[in-house]
């Protein structure tokens, strides 16, 4: 049941991408997440996407906050620099890194706690600033690492399960981002790599802030009230000592979402999520329509997936600030320091 027993990509000769690397070259350290955790499937999809895009690993920069989800950067692209920072502050740290070196490909991985609670203000502003990066929220509706408190995001599946609306309005990162003018907004499901990989690839190629919300179930804690294997059960003080520190063996929840339709996916604890995919005629270039679609799907108790909105015409943080094409860190000191003569002239104004 430890992460060690997880299947690894086999060692047999693997196909190489355009720059001669195999998918293994995009892997990272062994995961220490729970077996079956949705986050590991996101890792796999990231590995695949980076491989398929033939991105040189050293050009990748991996950023995260704190949480189970925020451990993800350890598990892919070991040839890239990674930064596992503090809880909720990944967005500004990534903005700074991106400001310094625009030639790196910035990938931020966060959780619903990290991004929608403590980091909510920063997410909002990273969107406004259009920091060029892939920003993944591994959304499980709970705080995994601190053992199962409710997070601010959608109570995944609770609508489908209990047929009742969530009373405390959850934060839907997709609708939030759309209403804030985000330039790329998508959603995937950790259990459908076939759909997730193209979404991640599109996001990686977006010239601006690309938000990808990935529903990524936590097999250990979840917020389906009433489920006997749920958070409520574990937390219950009367039963505390029976199964404390016990994680039942679980498998990843996988499902192939249909093209243009809905599907109900059952989670390990019996909870069910109704995923929708976008209809053929959907136009992801119309923000108003995207917002409308997302809101309506929500009312239907359906979680829409796919690339919901793209605006390819925007200018990213560097274009908005007219920085040079080469990264700021590459500018020679001579281009930065005006020198002694200029200093002398400058001071003539202070006499």
């Amino acid at each position: 049941m430890t992460s060690i027993s997880k299947p690894r990509i086999p060692l047999a000769t693997l196909p190489a991408n355009e720059i001669g690397l195999t998918v293994r070259d995009y892997e990272g350290a062994m995961s220490t997440l729970c077996a079956g955790c949705g986050h590991d499937s996101v890792t796999a999809a990231l590995v695949r996407s980076l491989f398929e895009l033939s991105i040189p690993p050293h050009r990748i920069v991996k950023m995260s906050g704190i949480g189970c989800s925020s451990k993800t950067p350890t598990y892919f692209a070991s040839g890239a620099h990674g930064f596992n920072s503090v809880h909720g502050r990944m967005a500004p740290i990534a903005a700074g890194a991106n400001a310094a070196n625009r030639s790196s490909i910035h990938i931020g991985i966060s959780g619903d706690g990290d991004s929608l609670s403590i980091g909510a203000g920063h997410l909002v502003h990273a969107i406004r600033r259009n920091v060029r990066m892939l920003y993944v929220i591994e959304n499980n509706g709970v705080y995994g690492l601190t053992k199962g408190q409710f997070s601010a995001s959608a109570d995944v599946g609770s609508t489908a399960k209990h047929g009742e609306a969530n009373e405390v309005a959850p934060i839907d990162p997709v609708q939030l981002a759309l209403s804030l003018g985000a330039t790329f907004v998508a959603r995937g499901f950790s259990g459908d790599k076939a759909q997730l990989v193209p979404i991640l690839k599109a996001a990686l190629e977006h010239r601006g802030f690309a938000l990808v919300d990935v529903i990524s179930p936590c097999v250990q804690f979840n917020n389906h009230v009433g489920s006997t294997k749920s958070y409520h059960y574990v937390r219950d003080h009367e039963l505390k000592e029976i199964e404390q520190d016990f994680v039942p063996p679980m498998r990843e929840t996988a499902a192939r979402l249909p093209h243009g339709g809905t599907i109900v996916v059952t989670l390990p604890d019996g909870g069910r999520i109704r995923f929708g995919t976008l209809p053929e005629e959907y136009d992801p270039r119309d923000r108003g329509a995207a917002l409308h679609y997302a809101a309506q799907a929500q009312q239907r108790g359906e979680i829409p997936t796919g690339v919901l909105f793209v605006d390819e015409g925007t200018r990213d943080i560097h274009e908005l600030n007219s920085t040079p094409d080469e990264p700021l860190i590459s500018l020679p000191f001579e281009a930065l320091c005006p020198g002694a003569d200029a200093l002398a002239r400058f001071q003539d104004g202070f006499q």
């Binding site: 503090v86 930065l336 001071q347």
Partner: protein, 624 residues
């Protein structure tokens, strides 16, 4: 503190400084209403005096408000070079009806008060021991200017004209300044000159000009400039090659970032004309106005980690908010330059008043075991130099460096020697391994292979897979691997402590003045310097030699410890309630508490020599 109150009211203090009212020795105070544009007129006077070669200082005492509240401006003129805040005022320009009473009270006996006699001054305000000079400013200005906006502005210039006549400002100098300001905009220039002349002429013809205390051109300011600390700090950041700045507005730090932007636009903006004739701007900098201070420090950390020289500027509340991430930078060993322009008080406190009260908060910022590098400039020249140094230190020691300026230094104009720059300067980027160096080593580990100063090499993202590593604020060993192991953890934090100690050799040495055989000394920091020097002069004139030391950096060098050891008593002068510098000296310079006598001023106004003198004399009495 009684002194402070008396000083503010201008009451003579026992034991005061010997009265030096006279040639090139006096102090002016302007009482106005904020938002009325008086700053421009006051600055004109300050700058004229500066141009006449007379040592001078200007202190702006302004409210945390945009319009309508009382505001004061103080100018101290001292041919002898004593330009700390004046304790008494010889000429009060009382332009604010709201504060007449206290302004009248603040004039020292024998002094003068200039007021707008368009309306009569209430009888009960008259003080026999001071001289009242009335000019019907509003009336006169109203006769010349019709636009209400111009009337408000020109009234200020008119009182400046009157003051010029009263204290003997060279007319040519002041006109030259006006023409520099308005250059080609002739109508503006003419209006200003007219208003100036109006005040000047009225004073000349109605009062005995110049007054007994007055100006005379001298050569005290050769090779000097008049500049505020925040501009100098911004200039230092520019010259150090900072490319990324992230900040959130806060008084009194705002102008650091705003100046940095205007300097960058001036010196780092390249305009190119593209093939199709379009003009393209290329900014060799990126300034991020963050959503808050938590974001600002995060951006600095991210940018520094990626290899840029980056900084943020803030004040006390911002430091508090940055606490968690200051710890992150400390523990992950990421350079970060933080300019803290200190203001007064806990919480929001008094945003437009001065203290040095973030010393402890900065030295140990963040939970857990942390210690940081601090720099303490005393004037704009040091702001410039230490701003540059802070980047070198931050990168050399891969750690946060806090530049602790304050509102007095940062927002007031100071006369300082011209800034100098050595074109051979190259940034000390510290230990950064590039791809070529990485090829030479077998395997790169982020926190291994410490040098003599306990610094380990880092690599920048984007260059080579061989240099890839994982930065984490969670427990890590010297290989950079995640750890919860006691030894792996301790090795790293022990090295951090050693690195902090090693940095002391690179901090700017203290400023020290010793007299053979002196048993007592004064230790101080930052903007307290000029008042302390003046106080030392006062005691020297009474045959009591006090040695002097000004702390300029933390960790402390051994020179500081031995200075303290060498004296029976050291008076530690600083502007906060809790004797924070003294605390840090006790803890980190091994100073015995009993030898360090706190002399504190924390009312929020720049320090006066009288406060220092009184403080030392009282402490002495207490010991006797």
């Amino acid at each position: 503190m009684k002194t402070e109150e008396k000083a503010q009211r201008g009451e003579p203090d026992e034991p005061a400084l010997p009265k030096r009212r006279g040639l090139n020795e006096f102090a002016l105070k302007f009482a106005t209403v904020n938002g009325t544009g008086s700053a421009s007129a006051n600055n004109l006077i300050l700058r004229s005096i500066f141009r006449m070669g007379v040592p001078v200082s200007g202190k702006n005492l302004f409210p945390s408000n945009i319009q309508g509240l009382p505001t004061w401006y103080e100018i101290r003129v001292s041919g002898e070079g004593n330009t700390s805040r004046a304790a008494e005022f010889d000429l009060m320009v009382a332009m604010n009806g709201q504060t007449y009473a206290s302004d009248v009270a603040a004039v020292s006996p024998g002094g003068y008060l200039l007021y707008d006699s368009s309306w009569p001054l209430p009888k009960l305000l008259l003080r026999p021991e001071i001289n009242f000079l009335g000019i019907p400013l509003a009336k006169l200005i109203g006769e010349i200017f019709s636009d209400s906006r111009q009337r408000i502005l020109m009234k200020n210039i008119a009182y400046a004209g009157a003051v010029a006549a009263l204290v003997g400002i060279d007319q040519e100098v002041i006109l030259e300044l006006l023409s520099e300001r308005f250059g080609s905009r002739k109508s503006l220039f003419d209006a200003n000159r007219e208003a100036l002349q109006l005040g000047f002429d009225y004073a000349e013809s109605h009062f005995a000009c110049p007054l007994p205390f007055r100006l005379e051109t001298m050569a005290g300011n050769d090779g000097k400039i008049l500049i505020d600390g925040n501009t100098a700090t911004a200039m230092g950041c520019l010259y150090a090659g900072a490319t990324v700045a992230a900040w959130y507005p806060i008084t009194p730090a705002t102008s650091v970032a705003e100046k940095f932007r205007s300097l960058c636009e001036r010196y780092r903006r390249v305009e190119e004309t593209t093939a199709n004739g379009a003009r393209e701007i290329r900014n060799n900098f990126l300034i991020l106005q963050a959503e808050d201070e938590l974001a600002a420090i995060g951006m600095v950390i991210g940018a520094s980690w990626a290899g840029a020289r980056a900084f943020t500027s803030t004040s006390g509340p911002g430091i508090s908010l940055m606490n968690e991430q200051i710890g992150l930078a400390y523990y992950t060993e990421i350079p970060a330059v933080i300019v803290d322009v200190q203001r007064a008080g806990p919480s929001t406190g008094m945003p437009t008043r001065v203290q040095q009260a973030d010393i402890m908060a900065c030295a140990y910022a963040s939970h857990g075991d942390t210690k940081h590098l601090l720099l303490f400039p005393a004037d704009p020249k040091e702001c410039f130099e230490m701003a540059v140094l802070s980047f070198d230190l931050a990168e050399r020691f891969q750690t946060p460096v806090m530049l602790l300026s304050d509102l007095d230094i940062g927002m007031n104009d100071w006369v300082i020697p011209r800034l100098e720059w050595d074109d051979s300067y190259r940034p000390d980027r510290g230990r950064v391994l590039g791809p070529a160096e990485l090829e030479q080593i077998e395997e790169f580990f982020r926190y291994d292979d410490a040098d003599a100063e306990f610094v380990t090499p880092r690599t920048l993202p984007g260059f080579s897979e061989r240099g890839a590593y994982f930065t984490r604020g969670s427990g890590h060993d010297r290989f950079g691997r995640y750890t919860e192991d006691a030894e792996g953890y301790q090795q790293v934090v022990d090295r951090l402590a050693a690195k902090h100690r090693a940095a002391s050799a690179h901090m700017p040495p203290p400023v020290v003045k010793r007299h053979p055989g002196a048993r007592f000394a004064v230790i101080t920091v930052g903007s307290c310097e000029s008042a302390v020097i003046e106080a030392i002069g006062y005691f020297a004139a009474r045959d009591l030699q006090l040695d002097y030391l000004r702390v300029r950096g933390f960790p402390f060098s051994s020179e500081i410890s031995s200075f303290i050891e060498d004296h029976e008593r050291c008076f530690v002068v600083e502007q906060n309630r809790d004797a924070q510098l003294r605390s840090l000296l006790i803890l980190e310079a091994g100073a015995p508490a009993g030898n360090l006598v706190p002399i504190l001023s924390y009312g929020g106004l720049p320090l006066t020599a009288v406060q220092v003198i009184e403080g030392i004399e009282t402490a002495w009495k207490d010991e006797a």
